[in-house]
Subunit: 384 residues, 2 copies
Amino acid sequence: MSRVSAPAQPTARVGIIGGGQLARMSHAAGTPLGIETHVLDAPGAPAEAAGARLVVGTADRLDDLARLARRVDVVTFDHEHADRAALQALAARGVAIRPGPEVKHLAQDKLHARRRLGGDLGLPVPAFTSVQDVSEVRAFAAAHGWPVVLKAISGGYDGRGVRIAADVAEAEAALAALGRPALAEAHVAIDTELSVLVARAAGTGESRAYPVVETLQQDGICHEVVLPARVPGALAARAHALALELAEAIGLEGLLAVELFVAGDELLINELALRPHNSGHVTLDGCVTSQFEQHLRAVLGWPLGATRPVAPAAAMVNVLGPADGSDPGHRVARALAVEGAHVHLYGKAPRPGRKLGHVTALGADADAALDAARTAARILEGER
Amino acid sequence: MSRVSAPAQPTARVGIIGGGQLARMSHAAGTPLGIETHVLDAPGAPAEAAGARLVVGTADRLDDLARLARRVDVVTFDHEHADRAALQALAARGVAIRPGPEVKHLAQDKLHARRRLGGDLGLPVPAFTSVQDVSEVRAFAAAHGWPVVLKAISGGYDGRGVRIAADVAEAEAALAALGRPALAEAHVAIDTELSVLVARAAGTGESRAYPVVETLQQDGICHEVVLPARVPGALAARAHALALELAEAIGLEGLLAVELFVAGDELLINELALRPHNSGHVTLDGCVTSQFEQHLRAVLGWPLGATRPVAPAAAMVNVLGPADGSDPGHRVARALAVEGAHVHLYGKAPRPGRKLGHVTALGADADAALDAARTAARILEGER
C-alpha cells in the first residue's frame, strides 16, 4: 500500500464545454465506465470539485475550445452557450463535437429552431414569426390574438428571455428588454407540460427515448418532474414517437430533451435542449440507465442503456437557494431522514433562487414519490 | 463562465484509510451528498483517479494517519490492514474512528473474532481452537475430524491465508506457510454461503440490514452474488436477525458484512468485514441506497437509507484480469451491449487474476440477473 499504484488507462476521454452540475453528474456517471472527463470552465466549477479534470477557459474562445479538444476523444456540452463560429471552426479541424454545431444551433437560436422544426420538418410548433418592432407584433396578434409570447432569439434559459405581452404597450417594453429581432409566438392554453429525453448514438444511429415525464414549472423553470407523465397513454405514445422522429430528422448525436405543451388534444414542441436536462434528473435514481450515463454512451458511439423505470413512479424536485442565503448542505442529514429521498447537491455556493441541487424519490404512485421528494427538498430549503 | 466559481463548503469531510475501489465508490456516493472524501494511500490509487483528495501515506504509520485525521471529521476504512496500535493511539487523541479500533479488530484478528463471537456473545461459529503445532492440529482433528481448516490469524483476505489440511502432513505444510499460532476450524459441509450487510449509525444507533444475499465463491473469493439469496425465507430471516444482533452486540459504528455458512439447517458465522464488502456491490444498482452511501451515512451519524431492492432480483459478478494481461476496459463498449448490465471498473491497471471491476444487473428472477451480469463480465474478460 505504500508503492505508487499504476492506474488503468481511461476507456475514453470526454471533453465537456462547461463544468456545471450537468458536467459534475456526467463525471460521476463516467467513472464506473472508466471514462475520464475534462471540463472547460473556471476554477471551482462544480464538476472540478467532484473530480473532473479542469481546462481553464471559456466557451466563446476558439483557443480554449481547442485546448480542451486536444485532451479528449470527443467534445460535448454542459450548456447551450458555446460560440457557434468557434464550434464550426473546431469541427472544421476534425474535432468530434457531438452533437455537431448545426444540431446544437437548434438550442441556441429559437427562431432557427422554429423555422427548422415547424417549416422544413413539418413538426407541430406554436404559430410564430420574427418581429422587429411593435407593429409586427400587432399584426401577429391580429391573426393569433393577444397575449403574444415574445422571446429573445438566443441566450434565454430557465424562463429568462421570455415575456408575455397582453397589449401593445407590454409588447413595446418586452422588445426593449429582449432585443430585436425577437420571436413572437401565439400564446398556448397549456394543460400540461411534458418532456421527452431521447439519446441517439454517434456512428450507429441507435436511438432510445425515456418514458415521457410531466414537468411542473415555477417562474418559468422546470421545478418538479413526475415519471411517468400523468396523461393518457396514447398522448404519451405520440410524444415519445415525436421525440424519436425529431432525433432522427436532425441527425442527433448525443442527448436531446424535447419540451412539449399539451393543449387539449394537441401536442406542440416548446423548447429543445441538446444536452442532459433538468427534466431528466429523475432518471438518476428512477431508470435503469441515467441520462448522464446515456449521454456519455451516445456521444462515444457506445451501445445505449435500458431506459425503463425501476419503480411504478418517480419524482424530482429542485432545491433552490433560500431567501436567507443559508446553505441547504447544512440540512442534508435532516433531509435524508425522509425515507427513500435521494439528495443530489451540486457543490455550488448558496445564493437566493439559485439551483443548488435536487431530490429524487421512487414511489408506488406519483403522489407518493412527489410527496417524498418535496418533503426532502423543503427541508433542504429550510422551510421545515 | 469565465469568473472563478465559488464552490459550496462540503457538508462533511470523511477520511478513508486506503484508496482502493471501495474508497473510489464511496467517493462517488458522497459527491451528491456534498461529502468530500480524503484517502490515505499512494499516488495513483483508484479513489484518487475518480476525484478523492489524496493524503500520501500508509496505514501502519501513526503520523500518516494523523495527517489524514486532521483534514476530516471522521476516519473510516477501505481495507482491514490498518495498524491496531496506531488506530488506538489515534483514538486516544480524540479522533473519531468509525468503526473504532476494538470493533475493527474483529476483522483483523480471526482468533479474537472467533473467541468474541463464539465465546462471549454465544453466536454460532464453527468449532475452533488456536494451534501452535501439528500435535495440536491432530488433537483438534481427533475431536472434529479431518480435514481441518487452518487460517492465518491476521492478514488473510480473499482466500489468502486459508488452507484445508486433509492429514498431518498437509497440516505441517499449512502451518509453515501460515505462521504460528494459527486458527484451526472444523471443516463445514457447506450447502450455501450467505452474506448480510448491516449498517449502524454512530451516535443514534439506528441500524438497518440489507436483504440477505447468496455468495458464489471461486478460489476462495466471493465471485458472484445473488440478491435475494435462494434459501428458505425462515433461514434468510434468521441470518438477517443474526447480523442485526451482532451489530448491536459489538456496538458497530459503520458497516459490517457478515459472511455465513449454511450447513443443513445450521447457520454459522464465517468471516466479518468492517467496511463496504464485495458481497454488497450488488446494492449499487440493486437497492434503493447503495452500501457506499449507507457506509458514509452510518459513520457520519446521519439517518440511514432504505435497503429494499428495486427489482425482484439482482446479481453481481466480479471482473478479473484475464490471463493474457489485456485490459477489460478495452471491451467496455461491447459489454454495454448486454441489456441492463451495469459496468463498474475500478481504474486499476490489469494484472492476471486481479479484481478490476464488477458488473451488476437486475432481473425478473435470479437466473435472468445472473445471466446478464455473467455475460457482460465474460465479455470484459475477453472470453466472448
